[in-house]
């Protein structure tokens, strides 16, 4: 306990920092206890390492002319592409002579970029709308909830398939579109429900009585209290984003230069998917990568779930 | 032979922060048809004892010793299958906040019939007749049998839960705070009803409450609990007029008396101890005005100081030490 005289001397930011670190420690302990959360985190870390390793390898061991994920070509194996795994190419080469491992590592970057950006946009939009709807209620609420119903009605991938003819979908635009579309969907309903539980708390009433404006209350009270849940759903959104991009790329509907989905698409359009076991290095590594990354983020999400929702904890 | 004889029951909860010494060497007995009340502050272990008797403790509870003899059979050692047969039939329980004791998706009558048919080989028609009888007993209209819990008021739900506990005519009913969630008038009515039913069916009852006024109304004997220990147990009159334990005395003086002279209410200083690290020796010593070195070093024995009057204290009040 801090002695009363010391209270006057400790600066506010120091106190805040201390409280913050303490709650972080507690939450980390809970996260760790969930067991599955750390597994997911571990897998994500693995992919981050993969992502970091690529430029290092390109700068040191790998000759860019051969190993570039998009324009590389291995002359030595001319006529034998796609070549099976060997020492030079641990995961073999693809139909047009590029190193599969290099592609895999490089695509990690686009997956992360896309996933995180899209999820971030979704969560920001969802949080603001959820908080506003909860606070104001009435017609604002009705409009956005109806909108959410409508958005949820649309099969996501089907919609994107059409949109791609309208908008030239490269990585960032895709992230933006996915982020915005998801942002108005189901997440607003969930976050609004959460915001409602905050809104009825006595301190909101107190803040109003003290003269807080709507903007102030929403920003300083409601939003911070729904952020944990929003952060949680962000994980699930990353899963969805990566998955969607992979599917669309697989069907060749996107304008991205290289991603895991594109890798499989290249294999398929060159006709190598028919004989499954023969050219396994063309579809198994990217397929596994997509699955693993989605899986990892989902696990992290579920791990966070036990932190945010005490009922799901072990005790 | 006593209906229920508990002998040095000890039980801990294992938590992330350590072991919570919830129940410590508690001993008491209940005779057939007797009504005993267990009183104490929140968190003193009363509910834990009740759950321990029925072996309904959560997973992190550890049973550490003692025995629970129900009609001569030690409940702590019998297999789960046998225990199941006793639950609801030999001993049944009414929980705190009985509002939530009823499953919302099934009809109330069906839930009571379920209780009956689990233990007694009775067909549906006969079971329904029994439920109707039970309803009359607790003061509910029999037609309500076919309604859902959300159609009942709080008091009605409480009565339904009582009816459910009575369904198989158990020898002992444990009622954990049966009236806490109700308003005072309904409280009174329910208590009288419970007591009336008990007398009629000659059942034993264990009331658990933090409200001593409630307990006093309906119990023949009272056990006082503090920090997981049973510190005193005697018949109601003795507890009120001649309490021997300092804690009991303090409880009594926290009561205004309508008839007696006006005096200042004395609140007990301090707080109940943290059961993660209970005090050494007598757990009451930090707050006891009469505590001595012995109290700090040694746990007092639980002894019968007069016929029917049990006490765990080094310095009984009004009897010299």
């Amino acid at each position: 306990m801090v002695a009363p005289s010391a209270l006057k001397r400790e600066p506010l930011w120091r106190i805040r920092l201390r409280l913050w670190t303490r709650s972080l420690q507690k939450n980390w302990a809970l996260f760790w206890e969930s067991r599955i959360g750390p597994i997911g985190l571990g897998i994500i870390l693995f992919f981050v390492l993969l992502m970091i390793a690529h430029p290092i390898l390109m700068a040191t061991v790998w000759d860019p002319r051969v190993y570039d994920p998009v324009v590389g070509f291995d002359r030595d194996l001319l006529g034998r592409h796609p070549a099976p795994p060997s020492w030079a190419h641990p995961l073999g080469t693809d139909p047009i002579g590029r190193d599969v491992l290099s592609q895999l590592m490089w695509s990690t970057r686009s997956a992360f970029a896309l996933g995180v950006t899209s999820a971030l946009i979704t969560v920001i939009i969802g949080t603001v709308i959820g908080a506003v709807c909860a606070y104001f209620g009435g017609i604002v609420d009705t409009i956005f909830m109806r909108l959410a119903d409508l958005v949820m009605l649309f099969p996501f991938i089907a919609l994107l398939m059409v949109l791609r003819s309208v908008i030239h979908l490269d990585l960032w635009r895709l992230a933006l579109v996915m982020g915005i579309l998801s942002g108005f969907g189901g997440i607003t309903i969930i976050l609004k429900a959460q915001a409602l539980t905050v809104k009825v708390k006595p301190y909101i009433e107190a803040a109003k009585v003290a003269g807080g404006s709507a903007f102030h209350i929403i920003r300083h009270h409601i939003i911070p209290n729904i952020m944990p849940l929003a952060f949680l759903y962000m994980m699930f959104n990353v899963t969805g984003a990566v998955f969607t991009e992979a599917v669309l790329s697989y069907f060749g509907l996107l304008d991205i230069r290289m991603s895991w989905g594109i890798m499989i698409h290249t294999a398929e359009s060159a006709g190598y998917l028919g004989a499954f076991s023969q050219y396994w290095w063309l579809w198994a590594p990217p397929g596994a990568a997509i699955t693993l990354l989605c899986f990892a983020f989902y696990l992290v999400g579920r791990g966070l779930d036990t932190v945010v929702n005490p009922r799901l904890r072990k005790r | 032979m006593s209906l229920l004889a508990v002998h040095r029951l000890t039980m801990h909860y294992t938590t992330k922060m350590g072991e919570v010494h919830a129940v410590d060497a508690v001993s008491f007995a209940i005779e057939p048809g007797e009504a005993i009340g267990l009183v104490g502050e929140s968190g003193c272990g009363k509910t834990s004892i009740a759950l321990a008797l029925l072996r309904l403790l959560p997973d992190n509870a550890r049973f550490l010793g003692g025995e629970v003899l129900f009609e001569g059979v030690d409940l702590t050692r019998i297999p789960e299958e046998k225990m199941r047969k006793i639950r609801g039939r030999g001993i049944s329980m009414i929980f705190q906040a009985a509002m939530n004791s009823l499953n919302p998706v099934y009809r109330v009558g069906d839930q009571i019939i379920e209780a009956i048919q689990t233990h007694l080989p009775i067909g549906s028609k006969e079971a329904r007749r029994r439920v109707a009888e039970l309803y009359e007993l607790v003061g509910l209209a029999p037609e309500l049998m076919d309604r859902y819990p959300h159609e009942y008021s709080g008091g009605m739900k409480q009565r339904a839960v009582i009816a459910m506990a009575l369904a198989c005519e158990p020898k002992l009913i444990i009622a954990d705070e049966p009236t806490t969630a109700l308003d005072v008038i309904v409280q009174d009515r329910i208590l009288r009803r419970i007591d009336g039913v008990r007398r009629r069916l000659n059942m034993a009852m264990m009331y658990i409450s933090h409200d001593i006024a409630v307990i006093a109304e309906v119990s023949q004997r009272i056990g006082v609990m503090y920090a997981g220990c049973l510190v005193e147990c005697a018949d109601t009159l003795t507890i009120f007029k001649r309490p021997a334990h300092p804690y009991t005395t303090a409880l009594m003086s926290a009561f205004p008396s309508i008839k007696g002279e006006k005096r200042k209410l004395q609140a007990l200083p301090g707080e109940p101890p943290n059961l993660l690290r209970p005090p050494s020796g007598c757990r009451f010593h930090p707050r006891c005005p009469y505590a001595t070195e012995t109290c700090v070093r040694q746990v007092p024995d639980y002894q019968e100081i007069e016929p029917g009057h049990f006490l765990a204290c080094w310095h009984p009040q009004g009897r010299g030490s």
């Binding site: 119903d149 099969p155 089907a158 499954f276 579809w283 397929g287 699955t291 | 329980m93």
Partner: protein
């Protein structure tokens, strides 16, 4: 109850209307006036083009076209498909829709049949190894890259073991000169499945008389089993059983794929829901009544936990439909999903719009069915 359904239907119509509007303007935004596309189709003789253009309301301003479109949809006229000209969109959809419907119906039921009990058991055994293993497995199947799953299934069962066909709807050689149209066989098959389902649902009502729960459950199972046996017998005797079986044979893998994916989701939902319910007081009370553990779990906990699971499941319907597109494509299962993808790729906009519209209708109806089901199952909901 009827009023409730009526009210929900009204809401659905409004939502559908909005949906339609968005679909229309979405396709309007396509680059290159698609009407020109249509008109440029070499299969259409020049004279007919004008007539068609007028008939389809391809002339006139956007607003006129919109009004026409809406009117047409509500009267069932969805236009002509570019790809399959002169087949009407509605005709194509009529053919493909049942296939998707059956695929998803069967797969979802199986997923529920698997996910519900598993979620139930696993929530009951909190914190033990089996809990983690099953949860992780569920998440795995839920997040697996669908084409990867399809490839693995095809590889394993079709390529290696040779048990199932590698996709498609039927074996061409078998159907060279069939006595019956494949579509007809398929529809009969659908009718059988739906009939069996209806019987299963009805069996709950029929067996209500039986007092005790155990014999009641067996009576239900007995009824369904009997019906199934009769159905198989009927098919066998009818002479076209072979053909029906061929279609069922082809259904195995796509159904397996969709089931695996959905089952993961349902199991996780059920587990989460159960964990919440287990904390409730009425569960402890049920135990205190002396009920066997299994009864407490199944009759009290699971039944109550089912309700939120159903709601959450409905929310995920859009995702499932999207997944359907991928699955159907991988297995060459000619249903709505595959049709939609092809239509989009071939720029057959009327067909694409029609598919999307229909999907919207189906999802909305599914919502309605689920709502009604929920209202029936939860006595707290009054209607």
């Amino acid at each position: 109850m009827l009023r409730y359904i009526g009210w929900r239907l009204a809401q659905i119509i409004v939502t559908f209307f909005l949906f339609l509007t968005v679909v229309f303007f979405l396709f309007q935004a396509m680059p290159g006036d698609y009407t020109k596309q249509f008109i440029m189709n070499p299969k259409i003789p020049p004279e007919a083009r004008q007539v068609l253009a007028q008939r389809l309301g391809l002339t006139g301003s956007v607003w006129d076209q919109y009004r026409n479109y809406v009117r047409n949809v509500f009267t069932g006229n969805l236009g002509f498909s570019f790809q399959y000209y002169p087949r009407e969109v509605w005709d194509v959809i009529k053919e493909r829709l049942p296939r998707t419907a059956v695929l998803f119906l069967v797969a979802d039921l199986l997923a529920f049949a698997l996910g519900y009990p598993l979620g139930k058991y696993i929530a009951w055994r909190r914190g033990q190894i089996s809990d983690y293993v099953v949860t992780v497995t569920g998440v795995f199947f839920y997040t697996i890259f669908t084409p990867l799953l399809a490839i693995i299934l095809l590889f394993l069962f079709s390529h290696v073991l040779g048990w199932f066909r590698s996709g498609g709807f039927l074996t061409p050689t078998l159907w060279l000169r069939p006595p019956v149209e494949p579509q007809r066989v398929f529809l009969l098959l659908t009718a059988t499945i739906v009939g069996l389902l209806g019987l299963w649902a009805a069996s709950f009502l029929f067996t209500r008389r039986i007092g005790h729960p155990r014999p009641r459950a067996w009576a239900r199972r007995g009824m369904v089993f009997l019906a199934l046996a009769l159905a198989v017998l009927a098919w066998h005797e009818s002479g076209i059983g072979r053909y029906a079986w061929d279609i069922v044979w082809h259904m195995f893998l796509p159904v397996a794929a969709v089931t695996l994916i959905s089952f993961g989701g349902i199991m996780l939902l059920m587990r989460d829901s159960m964990l919440e319910v287990i904390r409730e007081d009425y569960i402890t009370t049920a135990k205190a009544k002396g009920l066997p553990d299994r009864v407490v779990r199944d009759k009290h906990a699971a039944r109550t936990a089912l309700l939120p699971t159903i709601t959450s499941f409905t929310i995920g319907l859009g995702f499932i439909v999207s997944g359907g597109i991928v699955t159907e494509t991988m297995f060459s299962w000619k249903g709505m999903g595959l049709t939609y993808l092809e239509a989009v790729l071939q720029q057959d906009f009327p067909l694409a719009m029609g598919c999307l519209t229909f999907t919207g209708i189906l999802v909305l109806l599914a919502h309605l069915v689920v709502d009604v089901l929920y209202a029936l199952l939860d006595p707290r909901i009054s209607y």
